[in-house]
């Protein structure tokens, strides 16, 4: 909580006005999107499409012109807050969700928040490690990130949405954040949809929604339904990312290398591609899971 508040403050007190403006945009866009979408099915389709198009355009603009923007990170925080608020204060008062289901969801969200906080902490530590040993020879897998302006071991990507570089130092946390976020979003959307729609049981155990035709007739139902649809869409995207990460780590390549692979090779999950940095399935994973700062850095130097 404290970290979130701390980060929320940055655009207000610190940076230039322009940056503050782009950063606070999501605080207005997301609630407006959900409120408009809750009016009718056509509004839902319309607002969601508009937001997707808007995001594609604005992200290009931001990456080009304001690479340090907190817009994407604020988008994540606002989404998390708004969805959680709708769940706790609109869906829960329908009195259809058990206390343990609510607690289970909180645990998943907590797992996500902790993973992201640790990711950022490790990146900060990395900054110090790399600074202190700048004079050393640099490993060829140590790539610099021009947004964070640090060198990252086996840099995978700069995650705009978490405002954090992903490399071997925090890849395990990134994967766990993806896992927790996907599960939390799927679970919360299932709880919401089975509350506001007509549910049915699959194999007498799993409850799934089957008829959501009446949700737009009542504002609370509409808003809950739309937030669940939004969660489900995010969950789908994050699930793909999560699976991609699993494949990439198993193969020992980065996202960039993956993109360069020919289509045939991608279809074979890159098994037969040339992977100069891969150390085999098990060692790739231990390297990601057991990353612990300095020793790893030394290992880079030894390899050179």
């Amino acid at each position: 909580m404290a970290t979130i508040q701390d980060r929320l403050r940055i655009p207000w007190s610190g940076g230039a006005k322009q940056i503050a403006f782009d950063a606070i945009l999501p605080i207005f866009i997301i609630p407006a999107m959900l409120l408009l979408a809750s009016m009718s099915l056509w509004w839902t389709i319309f607002t969601f499409t508009t937001v997707v198009i808007f995001l594609t355009l604005i992200s290009r603009f931001f990456i080009k012109n304001i690479p340090h923007t907190k817009f994407f990170f604020l988008w994540t925080i606002t989404t998390l807050t708004v969805l959680y608020f709708i769940f706790e204060f609109i869906v829960i008062p329908f009195l259809e969700i058990l206390l343990e289901e609510n607690i289970a969801l909180s645990v998943l969200i907590f797992g996500f928040v902790i993973s992201v906080c640790l990711m950022k902490k490790r990146t900060k530590q990395l900054f110090m490690i790399v600074e202190s040993s700048r004079n050393d020879k640099e490993g060829d897998r140590l790539k610099s990130c021009n947004i964070c302006q640090i060198k990252v071991p086996s840099r995978d990507r700069h995650c705009l949405w978490l405002d954090c570089c992903v490399g071997n130092h925090n890849r395990c946390l990134f994967i766990s954040a993806l896992f927790f976020a996907t599960s939390a979003l799927t679970y919360s959307s299932n709880l919401t949809l089975t509350s506001v729609c007509h549910p049915f049981t699959l194999y007498r155990a799993i409850l799934l929604p089957d008829d959501c035709s009446d949700v737009y007739k009542l504002f609370e139902l509409g808003l809950s339904f739309v937030s669940a649809v939004y969660s489900l869409a995010l969950a789908a995207i994050l699930l793909l990312l999560f699976l991609q990460q699993l494949v990439l780590v198993s193969l020992g390549i980065t996202a960039k290398e993956w993109n360069k692979l020919p289509l045939v090779s991608k279809l074979c999950l890159g098994m037969f591609a040339n992977r100069p940095h891969s150390k085999g399935f098990c060692r790739n994973w231990t390297q990601v899971i057991c990353w612990s700062g300095n020793p790893q850095y030394e290992q880079f130097n030894q390899e050179v």
Partner: protein, 306 residues
């Protein structure tokens, strides 16, 4: 330091707000399936050559009905005029009046009758279905309609009343439609509530109560127009009379609700509920007018009241 204390207190308040049990659906205590037979109040068997109907296998070998099949035509014996049925090859030990308040739900009624005759006949009980139709233009008064139905059923000598909504369909065959010694909330595991119980004192939907108990609490209140709270008032009446209703196992208490838009609670419900408890003696079965018309239909007894 002070900020930390404020933060901690704030966090604690937030935790209580978020995880307060009253905000959630509840787990509840219930009679287990194997004890259900001991709880049912059996009617004294009439002297006859037939042997008594057995109910054990109905409860023990209970199965869930496929929900998609409830709309299909189901086989049942044509009941006597007025929707009364007695099993022919054994003497029933359960005699129940099924009272259904109703207005303007023709499609639901059709599905309900088609399903319930089949369902109840399979349970080998003596039953009669009463549809109580509100024929005025005021908002729907569920409790008053139930009072009319109960009054007529009691006059006809039914010892057990089941107060039932027309949009509820029991989906477990072991959900026995007889009265227990204590009034019983039957629809505790409803699909539109995710098979959970919204709150512990919920006493609406489908309820089984002995006629003697219904008379003892002077029935339900006649003052609740619109949707909501009449069942809460009924629960209070029972509690003030020292009767605490219970529930049977969720396994046999599964219901499905026929599709319609979720209703919004009437805004006056709490004001009427607040003035409730002193009114129990004067408002209820005793304050009912005699202006009701009874019509015997093929599948049910139709009562018109207002």
């Amino acid at each position: 330091m002070l900020i930390n204390v404020i933060l901690a207190v704030g966090l604690a308040i937030l935790m209580i707000l978020v995880y307060f049990p009253g905000r959630h659906a509840r787990h509840y205590s219930y009679i287990r399936v194997e004890n259900v037979l001991d709880e049912i109040l059996w009617a004294a068997p009439v002297q006859s050559k037939l042997k008594n109907c057995s109910y054990e296998d109905i409860i023990v070998k209970n199965v869930d009905v496929d929900i998609s099949s409830i709309y299909g035509t189901r086989y049942f014996e044509i009941p006597l005029k007025g929707g009364e049925y007695k099993p022919k090859n054994c003497t029933p030990l359960i005699k129940t009046a099924l009272i259904v308040p109703y207005r303007n739900r023709a499609t639901h009624l059709k599905v309900f009758l088609n399903y319930m005759h089949h369902f109840l006949q399979n349970q080998r009980i003596h039953y009669q279905i009463f549809i109580v139709d509100q024929n005025d233009t005021l908002p729907f008064n569920r409790a008053k309609m139930l009072n009319y139905g109960a009054k007529i059923a009691i006059e006809m000598g039914y010892p057990c009343l089941i107060l039932h909504d027309v949009d509820l369909i029991p989906i477990n065959t072991g959900n026995i439609y007889g009265c227990s010694k204590t009034p019983r909330h039957m629809s505790s595991s409803l699909d539109t509530f995710r098979y959970n119980l919204p709150y512990l004192t919920l006493f609406g939907g489908a309820v089984a109560i002995l006629s003697s108990q219904f008379k003892q609490v002077n029935g339900m209140s006649n003052k609740f127009y619109g949707w909501g709270a009449e069942d809460d008032d009924f629960y209070r009446r029972l509690i003030t009379n020292g009767i605490t209703p219970y529930r049977f196992s969720p396994e046999i208490s599964r219901y499905t609700m026929l599709p319609h838009v979720k209703e919004i609670a009437s805004s006056e419900r709490f004001t009427v509920l607040a003035q409730g408890s002193e009114q129990h003696k004067v408002d209820g079965l005793s304050s009912l007018s005699d202006e009701s018309v009874i019509k015997q239909e093929d599948l049910y007894t139709h009562i018109f009241a207002s």
